[in-house]
């Protein structure tokens, strides 16, 4: 085979050159010359040592035959081109063929790629660090938020459209609802009555649909539930997406048991203070009332045989007495006892005992608060004794003493205006006037004892059944009394709708059982009195006549 060496050299698809044993460049292919800007004339007519043409940094001796291509950097001197190549060396006869497989671009790309990878790694590292920091911050924030929410003493949970509790809720849920809410329905959590659960389902679904304003619908939901004696207040808020669409319902629950208890305590205290104020400003009447109550309770406790009609009359009178001093708890209790029917004596007895004990307890509490002496008789001024003393001293001292000992009958009857006003407030009615007219008579103890239950029961009836509800109608009471010889006449006129016996009446706490007038009749009978009731289109008139106690000389 006779091949032209120069043609073979040209065919090599890499820069190639040939040197002789002495290291003189003999030939180079066009690829080499054009790639590295070398002129053929440099070695064509002159001896050009390889060291003056090109320098391989990592090759000690280009003459060494090496089977493998060796990587090296190089510099071509005439053009000052530098690069990187895989240098292959092969001795053929007495010449050496050098092939430079130029990998400058690969090296550059590799370096560039490596640099970018390093940058990417650095960036990723930075990113990881940032993610780690952000995650830690987020976790801390979550801890703070959870801590804050948990310390609010409120249970917060989120419901989906099906009313199911989502996994996100505060730890207080378990203690407030007495059950972990996770995965449970809202009706199960609050133990909502089964027959009303469909309403709750529809309500939650409407809350999320928001066809109607969320707050308006939320207002229809359960506001307070009582679970195992715990009062739980519930409030609802929308859980909105970024597009402000309601996606869930946030339920905020609060244990308000203590608040309810405090409110009850406060109510009891307020009630007691009301009674206390009344007693303190009406000690005179209080004695009469307390005697009335003691007498009634004593009678009840002495009973051995069931006589419902009798019991109810006494109880009714007792109730009136309680209401006179706004003793509402006792009033209610008496009303409940009044409602007993077809009971055996022990049931009645135990009810009377409780009533008696509660009455005694209240009076003891009142006496303690007002620093009254333990026996109620001390409150009452012994009128007879003062009258006797008054006779022994000259005027005007005698007049002053008598003034202390007695209260004017007008003032006594007038004191019922407060009672009438309170009843009106209770029944959302208005009392326009309460007028008392009569001569200057003392409020005799005997008279008051009889008058008190009469006035209490009758005025309760007037306000409850006679007085108009309508604001524009006039409700007024006028009481006129007079003493003729040894008889006392009293007429009570009201401008109500008339207390006609046939008027249909509904029993309530205040009146309506039809016992009041029976009691009045019996009471009057005890003091040799009677009554007459007349009805007009403009109201009703009760006329009474009774004995006036004989005065001692």
């Amino acid at each position: 085979m006779n091949l032209n060496g120069e043609q073979i050299l040209e065919f090599i698809p890499e820069p190639a050159l040939v040197i002789n044993d002495a290291g003189i460049v003999v030939a180079a292919n066009e690829f080499f010359l054009s790639q590295y800007g070398v002129k053929r004339r440099l070695f064509l007519n002159t001896k050009l040592p390889i060291e003056e043409l090109i320098c391989f940094e990592n090759i000690d001796d280009v003459h060494l035959e090496d089977e493998a291509f060796k990587e090296t950097t190089f510099t071509v001197f005439p053009s000052a081109i530098t690069g990187s190549c895989l240098l292959g060396r092969r001795k053929i006869d007495d010449q050496y063929l050098l092939v430079l497989k130029d990998n400058s671009v690969e090296v550059q790309l590799h370096d560039k790629y490596q640099k970018q990878l390093d940058e990417l790694a650095e960036y990723s590292k930075g990113l990881e660090e940032k993610v780690k920091i952000r995650t830690r911050e987020l976790s801390e924030s979550n801890q703070y938020i959870s801590g804050m929410l948990d310390s609010l003493n409120q249970a917060i949970l989120v419901l989906n459209a099906e009313g199911m509790c989502l996994p996100h809720h505060t730890t207080n849920c378990a203690s407030i609802f007495k059950t972990p809410p996770n995965g449970k329905s809202f009706w199960d959590i609050i133990e909502y009555p089964e027959d009303e659960q469909p309403f709750l389902r529809r309500w939650i679904s409407h809350l999320i649909k928001e066809k109607i304003n969320f707050d308006d619908i939320a207002d229809l939901g359960p506001k307070i539930v009582i679970k195992n004696g715990t009062h739980i207040e519930l409030k609802y808020f929308p859980l909105r997406s970024e597009k402000l669409k309601a996606e869930g319902v946030v339920v905020v629950a609060r244990d308000i048991t203590r608040i309810v208890e405090l409110e009850e305590d406060l109510h009891t205290t307020e009630e007691f203070e009301k009674v206390l104020t009344k007693v303190a400003t009406n000690l005179f009447i209080y004695r009469s009332a307390i005697e009335e109550q003691e007498r009634s309770l004593k009678k009840l406790l002495a009973e051995t045989v069931v006589d419902e009609n009798k019991f109810k009359k006494i109880l009714h009178r007792l109730k009136g007495s309680y209401s006179l001093f706004s003793m509402h708890a006792l009033e209610k209790m008496t009303h409940q006892v009044e409602d007993l029917e077809h009971c055996e004596m022990p049931t009645w007895k135990s009810a009377f005992i409780i009533l008696s004990e509660e009455t005694k307890a209240l009076h003891a509490k009142l006496a303690n608060s007002l620093s009254l002496p333990p026996t109620i008789s001390h409150i009452w001024v012994d009128q007879q004794k003062i009258k006797t003393i008054a006779k022994k001293v000259p005027r005007p001292y005698s007049d002053e003493l008598l003034a202390i000992a007695t209260m004017a009958l007008t003032d006594y009857i007038n004191s019922f205006s407060v009672f009438v006003d309170e009843l009106c407030t209770q029944l959302n009615k208005k009392n326009h006037s309460f007028v008392v007219q009569g001569p200057d008579l003392p409020a005799d103890y005997q008279v008051i004892r009889s008058l008190q239950p009469i006035l209490t029961l009758y005025l309760r009836n007037v306000v409850d059944h006679g007085f108009w509800n309508e604001e524009e109608k006039n409700n007024s009471i006028s009481i006129i009394f007079n003493r003729v010889n040894k008889r006392l006449n009293i007429s009570i006129t009201d401008t109500g709708r008339g207390l006609r016996p046939k008027t249909e009446q509904t029993s309530n706490l205040i009146s309506g059982r039809g016992l009041g007038m029976q009691i009045i009749k019996e009471q009057l009978k005890d003091i040799n009195g009677f009554h007459e009731q007349t009805f007009t289109d403009n109201g009703c008139v009760l006329s009474m006549e009774m004995d006036w106690p004989e005065e001692e000389n």
């Binding site: 690829f31 002129k39 400058s104």
Partner: protein, 157 residues
């Protein structure tokens, strides 16, 4: 000089793209906007480098140009001439080389210079005669047959 840049110049219905910088791995076809032009000229005078990655991209770029678009190469530097001589695809049927630089050597002062040659002036693969200021003829500083080989390729594609 960094990545490839260009300026355009309109000569009648012809648009000349004056390329400068490098054609390397960062070059992308979309870097040169042809906008449905039908007559294009690429001027390579200020192109400083083209590497193997750049050649590959350039050939892909040429392939994407519709064949009815007439392309001219002008002022091709020796590096472009070398690529035209050895890389298939650098010249296509719709490409015509108008002018190129050729190396000359002045023996009187041993200087190397590049001279712009118009392709039409080449006859029988003989380099045009170039003289120095003293009127002495300069040596063509390359193998004429090999250097002008692209002209043959151009005729054959």
């Amino acid at each position: 000089m960094g990545k490839l840049e260009y300026k355009t110049e309109t000569k009648g219905d012809e648009t000349v793209f004056h390329l400068s910088g490098k054609i390397d791995e960062d070059f992308r076809r979309k870097d040169i906007e042809l906008n449905d032009l039908k007559k294009i000229t690429f001027n390579f005078r200020d192109l400083t480098m083209i590497n193997s990655c750049g050649i590959r991209e350039w050939i892909d770029f040429l392939k994407a140009i519709p064949t009815d678009v007439k392309i001219q190469y002008e002022e091709c530097t020796p590096i472009i001439v070398t690529q035209m001589n050895i890389i298939s695809g650098f010249l296509r049927p719709n490409i015509k080389v108008v002018s190129f630089y050729a190396p000359y050597f002045d023996p009187s002062d041993e200087t190397e210079t590049l001279h712009l040659i118009h392709a039409k002036d080449i006859t029988a693969v003989l380099p045009p005669v170039v003289k120095n200021a003293a009127g002495e003829q300069l040596d063509f500083d390359a193998h004429p047959e090999k250097y002008f080989h692209f002209l043959k390729i151009q005729e054959s594609v």
